[in-house]
């Protein structure tokens, strides 16, 4: 998988896809569908080491570095979170640590899903974004070191 387009381009692409939906139901059905289609994480990774524990749902996240780019895989026990996670992976996976660290992820707000990143939504998604950036930072330090 090569990063054929920039993070911003993918964000814009998703924003455009969501602009086609008229109702919140359509949006959520799409997210649920994304969640169902996300390739499940191998059970060997579904352990505490990779778990980002939210209050209600759980998210597991792994990251691999290949030729200076970071590839993410993730899973969740709740399907809406999984759909949101799937979009984050689509946007961030395959990019360099710097690109990931610089990503503003404004598309989440533009598609009307910002509330899922709020502190009050203890679904682990905010922690997941932080963790993705942490991975990027760790790899950046490693590469420069």
């Amino acid at each position: 998988m090569n990063a054929v387009q920039t993070i911003q381009e993918t964000e814009d692409e998703i924003t455009e896809e969501f602009s086609l939906f008229d109702t919140w139901e359509d949006k959520y059905e799409y997210i649920i569908d994304l969640g169902k289609k996300l390739e499940p994480l191998d059970t060997k990774y579904k352990i505490d080491e990779y778990k980002i524990k939210g209050c209600q749902s759980q998210v597991w996240l792994i990251a691999n570095e290949k030729e200076g780019r970071i590839f993410f895989k993730a899973d969740s026990d709740a399907v809406i979170v999984k759909g949101l996670v799937s979009m984050l992976i689509r946007v961030l996976s395959g990019h360099t640590p710097k690109e990931i660290l610089d990503a503003t992820l404004e598309f989440i707000d533009k598609i009307g899903m910002k509330n899922h990143l709020a502190q009050t939504r203890s679904n682990g998604l905010l922690s997941m974004v932080k963790q993705m950036k942490n991975y990027a930072l760790a790899y950046q330090v490693k590469m420069n070191g």
């Binding site: 919140w24 139901e25 959520y28 059905e29 649920i32 209050c55 209600q56 749902s57 026990d77 709740a78 399907v79 809406i80 979170v81 679904n123």
Partner: protein, 417 residues
Amino acid sequence: MVSTDINIKKSKAFDVAEIRKKFPVLERKVKGRDLVYFDNAATAQKPQVVIDALVRYYHQYNANIHRGIHSLAEEATAAFEATRDTVKEFINARHREEIIFTRGVTEGINLVAATYGRQHIKEGDEIIITGMEHHSNIVPWQLVCEEKKAVLKIIPVDDNGDLVMDDFEKLITPKTKIVSIVHASNSLGTINPVKEIIEIAHRHNIVVLVDGAQSSVHLEIDVQDMDCDFFVISSHKVYGPTGVGVLYGKKELLEAMPPYMGGGEMIKEVTFEKTTYNDLPYKFEAGTPNIADTVAFKAALDFVNETGKENIRRHEEALTKYAMEQLSAIEGVRLIGTSKHKTSVVSFIVDGAHPQDMGILLDNYGIAVRTGHHCCQPLMNRFEIPGTVRASFAMYNTKEEVDELVKGVGKAIKMLK
């Protein structure tokens, strides 16, 4: 079966439409829809009379209490102490000084654990709680157990969500010093046989704390009849303000307990050599209390009394029964907590759907439910579920709102399938 419909709509003494008018928040919209508020077990909405009492205090007689000699201080003190009298009546305590104001149930339990608990628990002693406790009635005791090398024992819960009472007496040994039990479960609704538990415990000279967080709003509370040693309440679950609660304790126990916090108000005389403590209830009320919210708490209790607990209970029971019937008829829905003795809590899970997904979708329909483990992780583990969707009803909820929930659940399931 008597039609639930008739019970809900035609109670003469109780007009839910009139009641709803008294709760301003119920007029608001959520996501463009009429709010359906079914998170009452977390906190109840406030009637206008409570909001008014709160505002009136700050508008007209805000002052620090008990020591000032000016008029405002006298008025504030009188209002604050009037709440104590109303609480005393509300739970039928013997003495007004048995009513200690706290920040809520959590503080009440911590207070007892840190004073009575630390005073009486020795190495190897035992504390008994139930398998359906809120974390606030688990962790304070774990802290005591850790410090004193004592043991926490658990009364198990059966598949319906009832306590396995046969096991309770077997858990008691000469080392058992405290039993601390929830009156009504926040996640299942189960009403526990506290009188029976207390009777058994007292036969073995064990003191009993009853967590009334969920029961005090729904059930008639008579601490003398119940004969509990301690009883704790949170105002915000009884239509009152947040940040206020009550610890009831039998006078002789409270008198023998050491203070919880030191500071102003709780002392009689302070020298650098020795401090003598104030009398009850002030011994346990160090510092300036939450005066405004305590004052407004009285308005909430008066409001509940005027509406009539029995009327409220009948209304909520009918709603609960109706909701349980309707929800269990939906394919894939499984009720968690099917005790015969329940408060107005309906907890359920949906096959193949995470409670959180249900909660997110229901919120978009304007329906506020609680999803998750409800601060009862050990209980969720016992049922081997990550959590539940919980709808909990208050006096202002209606059958039509339950219908909205049932519709919403049906739609959410369809979306998630």
